[in-house]
């Protein structure tokens, strides 16, 4: 396979067209020698007779129609994987960039992976304690789940992800440190963001368990298309062959989707919504679906993709299609952030689909589901009361609505808000939940089983020190 083709017939954006090729395969990787010095990788994305369209990962800068030699490699995009990759940093296509020398690879794997057979999957049930009330209590993260953070520019999604990494990895559920690792993939992120995560990993002492794939905002766009796949290939290898529990952080999926749009448009494809190609859903799915647990294997891939919603619009194709594939979402809210509530989790649109099977008596506590449902339901009532108050004024509200206004404020201040290094256990989270529910008359709590109410409900009020206390005995603190 060492035939070299000299020259190209056209170059358009990240795409190059080569004519007169023999024996090229669809999805095959080619090596391109530019000016006899630089080596670049490309992928064949369309073949028509002897004409191949090649996507050049490192960009087409400096390439001319004459100065390039192209060699077919005969295989699809592969990366080397091994446990030695933990603690190292790579570029978007898996080449080490940390000056620590080459990595010894255990084997080479196709980055596209293969779909997991639903028969071989195991339904995820074990919850991961993140120590964050809004997540643990209301949108519980389950091992093997894909739970994205929907955010916007300027919101603290990176801080939140970092806190999850710190607290989930060091929490009591991590087991011994050896079988836990993080695969971090950055697509089109700013230097500062990449640096922030690097520091976070170092500060929390997990950096020897992190493999980072970094494609910065000024790195070639096409490389971004491979970055999450390379990262997930390593994650799957570590999880299902080395039986480790892997947390994969993908940021920012919006850059990934936009890279796709850029390449699709250079290719002259028919766009569907907002100029994104028709296969955006399938392409996103091929990434997100690479999370899960396999039967009889003691490993897991949990994904926390982060995406910034363009113009905070949750109906934009990227968050929209993501929400249809992932098992829930954690949505961040600009208004809460403006009120300095950290983490600004907007709980009503947030959801964890796997939560119902991973909480309750055998996992967290018997009242968890009921408390969560009631908090959601009551907080939805708060929105109605607030809407009404903005029309008729707070004074005109009914007594019940006034109670809800108080509950809403306290809920945001006490339950959602917490320090970025505060690690609450689930019992603490639930007890804050009960304190808040105590502000509401018992007859309003229609989502909780009577037996659970009998056991846990205590009416509360706020005393002069701004503490929530049980109502009957003012001096007794909950």
């Amino acid at each position: 396979m060492s035939v070299e083709y000299l020259g190209l017939s056209s170059i358009n954006g990240p795409l190059a067209v080569l004519e007169g090729v023999k024996g090229a395969a669809y999805d095959e990787i080619v090596e391109m020698d530019v000016k006899g010095s630089q080596k670049r990788l490309g992928r064949i994305i369309e073949i028509n007779n002897d004409k191949a369209v090649i996507q050049v990962f490192e960009g087409t800068d400096g390439m001319a129609l004459r100065n390039t030699r192209t060699r077919l490699t005969g295989h699809p995009m592969r990366i080397g994987v091994s446990t030695d990759m933990l603690g190292r940093t790579f570029n978007g296509i898996g080449h080490p960039i940390d000056d620590l020398g080459p990595v010894n690879y255990d084997k080479l794997l196709d980055v596209n992976g293969k779909p997991l057979n639903p028969v071989s999957r195991k339904y995820p049930r074990n919850y991961i304690r993140t120590g964050i009330s809004s997540i643990d209590g209301l949108t519980t993260l389950i091992r093997g789940q894909k739970l994205p953070i929907f955010s916007g520019n300027g919101l603290p999604h990176d801080e939140l992800a970092a806190q999850i990494v710190r607290q989930a990895s060091l929490g009591d559920n991590a087991g011994n440190g050896d079988d836990f690792a993080i695969v971090f993939a950055a697509m089109g992120v700013k230097h500062d963001v990449a640096d922030f995560f690097r520091r976070t990993f170092e500060d929390s002492g997990v950096s020897s368990h992190v493999a980072a794939f970094i494609n910065l905002a000024n790195d070639p766009v096409v490389e971004r298309l491979i970055t999450p796949k390379a990262a997930l290939t390593l994650a799957e290898y570590l999880a299902f062959e080395k039986e480790m529990h892997i947390l994969v952080i993908l940021t920012d999926m919006t850059s990934f989707a936009e890279a796709m749009r850029e390449v699709s448009s250079s290719k002259g494809e028919i766009p569907s919504r907002k100029g994104f190609p028709g296969y955006l859903y399938s392409e996103l799915a091929s990434i997100y679906e690479r999370a899960g647990i396999v039967k009889d294997i003691n490993g897991s891939v949990t994904q926390i993709p982060i995406l910034t919603m363009p113009n905070d619009d949750i109906t934009h194709p990227i968050p929209d299609l993501t929400g249809y594939i992932t098992e829930g979402q954690v949505v961040l809210d600009r208004d809460l952030n403006a009120q300095s509530v950290y983490p600004p989790v907007s709980i009503l649109p947030s959801l964890s689909r796997l939560m119902k099977d991973g909480i309750g008596k055998d996992y967290t506590r018997e009242d968890h589901q009921d408390v969560a449902n009631q908090l959601f339901s009551s907080y939805a009532r708060v929105q109605d009361a607030r809407a009404l108050a903005s029309v008729i004024g707070e004074d005109e509200l009914s007594d019940t609505d006034k109670i809800y206004l108080v509950f809403g404020k306290e809920f945001e201040e006490r339950f959602i808000k917490q320090d970025s290094d505060e690690n609450r256990d689930i019992f603490k989270t639930l007890s804050i939940g009960w304190q808040l529910l105590g502000l509401i008359p018992r007859s309003e709590l229609d989502r909780i089983d009577t037996k659970i109410l009998d056991k846990y409900y205590v009416p509360t009020s706020i005393n002069s020190d701004n503490e929530i206390v049980a109502v009957e005995k003012d001096n007794m603190r909950l």
Binding site: Y26, E46, N117, P118, K122, S272, G278, Y279, E289, Y324
Partner: protein, 607 residues
């Protein structure tokens, strides 16, 4: 349909191509679409084997310059110059015992067999048989020598699962006289059971196996109008917006509103005989969940595991897109096959939007002119031909059966004005619109009662009157009326608050709350509430409306709503759904007495 075509042994397992099979040379590859040179002589919708790995594909376009083939597997690694070989027959499914309690991919390859061959992942070009050809089935022959058999006549019985008796039929396009039969005993699906002499004098060997092209509806004798509801045990569906057996329903909703949950609930608790659950472009974990859960849950009617009446088709979102397009048709064909035996079959298609997107993706690769939002212009006609395959029918063999279709729709951005929702609405008669705000407030099922509708109401009214109660339809309409009143009153409340409303209107709000929380809201995780029999649904309505009447007469006497609300009866009625077990309908009498006591006590206190 050429009769020789259906009879050939064709399923996804690769067989050497028949004599004289045509082939073409690949010259272009773009995603799931490959093209072969010139006019290769393929038939439209013929199943073909693509490339050296013999990947399965289907011919979707023919010109004199090229044959266009969609490939049901990943096309990476295919090179120009490789061959495409025809199979001589359209893409078909294998129909025989072994379909139930099984899970297949979009072109009827059993995933559990693939898992045995290929461990955890699905590779390309896996060569497995659709159904187990080694397994011996206890067979009881129901015909004897000399019997005259017509299209679709039953020739044998096989107990496929403890719940379902599989009736082996002769293919719909054959008839003849029995010349030879085997004795009752154990046979595989390919053993000859009966020999018949066709009308033209030739002899035909019949086994349990049939093949049927997925895109062609199986013929029926005639269609009946809707007359019997598909009872699901879900109050908002059965009482407010019922679906008829043989009917079609759409469940549209943005992500997180509970489409899949609704589908799961119907698949678990509906009174259909057979469930075909098609996971089309959805999450892998969800299919795993169905598989795990349905194996453990038992069918309330028969006491057997739910999987015994269920067949799953899983084409998850990361599996090849072309097979996703085929998966709906494969599922439909399986459903029609069981309908032909005289069963009521319900299909859950989750989600038809993914299927439409597969159409769009393939259409885009073919560089077809896009219509709305990039979807091809034939979206509407494809959707209509899909939903029109539902129906309550008389089969060729005289039995009656039905196929009901419940299709989930995942509208982009939760916006029901997008093309898939709009076109689906034209062809379904039941619309269960899911609402984001209800889901945010964790009101499940989040079916919005104001926007949903069922066109089957009038056709099903006689059934409800006869089988449940003659007041049923009236009660149902009263509930809907109250909810509608509540919605218009809420408009006022949003502007000026609830305090200024007159007492009779406050009562409407209060009783509507009871209806919403006590009746419409249903807890899928509660052992009694997850599936509620019709009699209890009726009795619940009865109590709620009784309470309303009593409270209304108190208001007319001048009692203020604030006093009425002090009584615990409201909360008590709301929690009927939990407090009265499904098998203790007598307890409702106590509640009626409680309402009377409430009435008396208010009068006493305020007289």
């Amino acid at each position: 349909m050429d009769s020789t075509m259906t009879n050939k042994l064709i399923h996804s397992e690769y067989k050497e191509p028949p004599e004289g099979a045509v082939s073409g040379i690949i010259f272009s590859i773009n995603g799931p679409i490959v093209k072969t040179e010139g006019n290769s002589g393929f038939l439209m919708h013929e199943m073909v084997y693509v490339g050296n790995e013999k990947l399965i594909g289907e011919v979707i376009g023919l010109t004199s310059q090229a044959s266009i083939i969609e490939v049901y597997e990943e096309t990476g690694g295919i090179k120009p110059g490789e061959l495409v070989t025809g199979s001589g027959s359209p893409v078909s499914v294998t129909l025989a015992p072994g379909i139930l309690n099984n899970i297949f991919d979009g072109i009827e390859r059993p995933l559990s067999e693939i898992a045995k061959k290929d461990n955890a992942y699905i590779s390309r070009g896996v060569n497995v048989e659709s159904l187990d050809t080694k397994k011996l089935w206890d067979t009881h022959i129901t015909v004897k020598k000399g019997d005259r058999l017509y299209h679709g006549s039953v020739i044998a019985h096989v107990q496929e699962t403890p719940a379902i008796l599989h009736k082996v039929m002769i293919p719909p396009d054959k008839e003849g006289t029995v010349s030879e039969v085997v004795n009752d005993g154990k046979y595989t699906i390919n053993d000859t059971l009966v020999k018949i002499i066709l009308n033209d004098g030739s002899t035909e060997n019949l086994s349990m196996t049939q093949h049927w092209p997925i895109r062609i509806p199986r013929p029926v004798l005639k269609r009946f109008p809707a007359s019997v509801p598909l009872i699901t045990g879900q109050r908002i569906l059965d009482t407010l917006f019922p679906l008829a057996k043989g009917g079609t329903a759409a469940v549209p909703g943005g992500f997180g509103t509970g489409k899949t949950m609704t589908q799961h609930q119907i698949a678990k608790w509906s009174d259909a005989d057979i469930i075909i659950y098609i996971g089309c472009g959805e999450r892998g974990n969800e299919m795993t969940q169905v598989l795990e859960e349905f194996s453990e849950l038992t069918d309330p009617k028969t006491g057997n595991p739910l999987m015994d009446r269920t067949s799953l088709i899983a084409n998850t979102s990361n599996m090849p897109v072309a097979a996703r397009e085929a998966s709906l048709y494969s599922g439909l064909t399986l459903a029609e096959y069981y309908r032909d035996m005289g069963y009521d079959v319900a299909i859950m298609a989750d989600s038809t939007s993914r299927w439409a997107e597969a159409l769009r993706e393939i259409s885009g690769r073919l560089e077809e002119m896009p219509a709305e939002e990039g979807f091809p212009a034939y979206l509407a006609s494809r959707l209509s031909s899909f939903y029109e395959r539902a129906g309550m029918v008389q089969n060729l063999n005289g039995t009656e059966g039905s196929v009901s279709i419940i299709g989930a729709v995942s509208p982009q951005g939760g916006d029901f004005s997008e093309p898939v929702t709009q076109n689906t609405k034209r062809f379904v008669r039941c619309f269960w619109g899911l609402d984001k705000n209800l889901a945010y407030a964790r009101h499940f099922p989040a079916i919005q009662w104001l926007t949903s509708y069922s066109e089957y109401l009038n056709e099903l009214a006689p059934w409800y009157t006869e089988m449940v109660d003659k007041k049923f339809v009236d009660y149902r309409n009263q509930l809907v009326y109250l909810l509608g009143r509540e919605a218009s009153l809420m408009e006022i409340v949003k502007l000026i608050g609830a305090d200024v409303l007159p007492d009779d209107q406050k009562l409407v709000l209060e009783i509507s709350k009871v209806i919403r929380i006590g009746f419409l809201q249903q807890n899928a995780f509660h052992k009694d509430d997850t599936c509620v029999p019709m009699s209890k649904q009726f009795k619940m309505m009865d109590i709620i409306l009784y309470l309303y009447q009593k409270a209304k007469s108190l208001i007319h006497m001048g009692m203020p709503m604030s006093i009425l609300k002090e009584d615990g009866i409201w909360d008590k009625v709301i929690s009927i759904k939990y407090d009265i077990p499904n098998d203790k309908p007598d307890m409702f009498d106590e509640y009626k007495k409680d309402v009377d006591r409430f009435y008396e006590s208010v009068i006493e206190k305020n007289a």
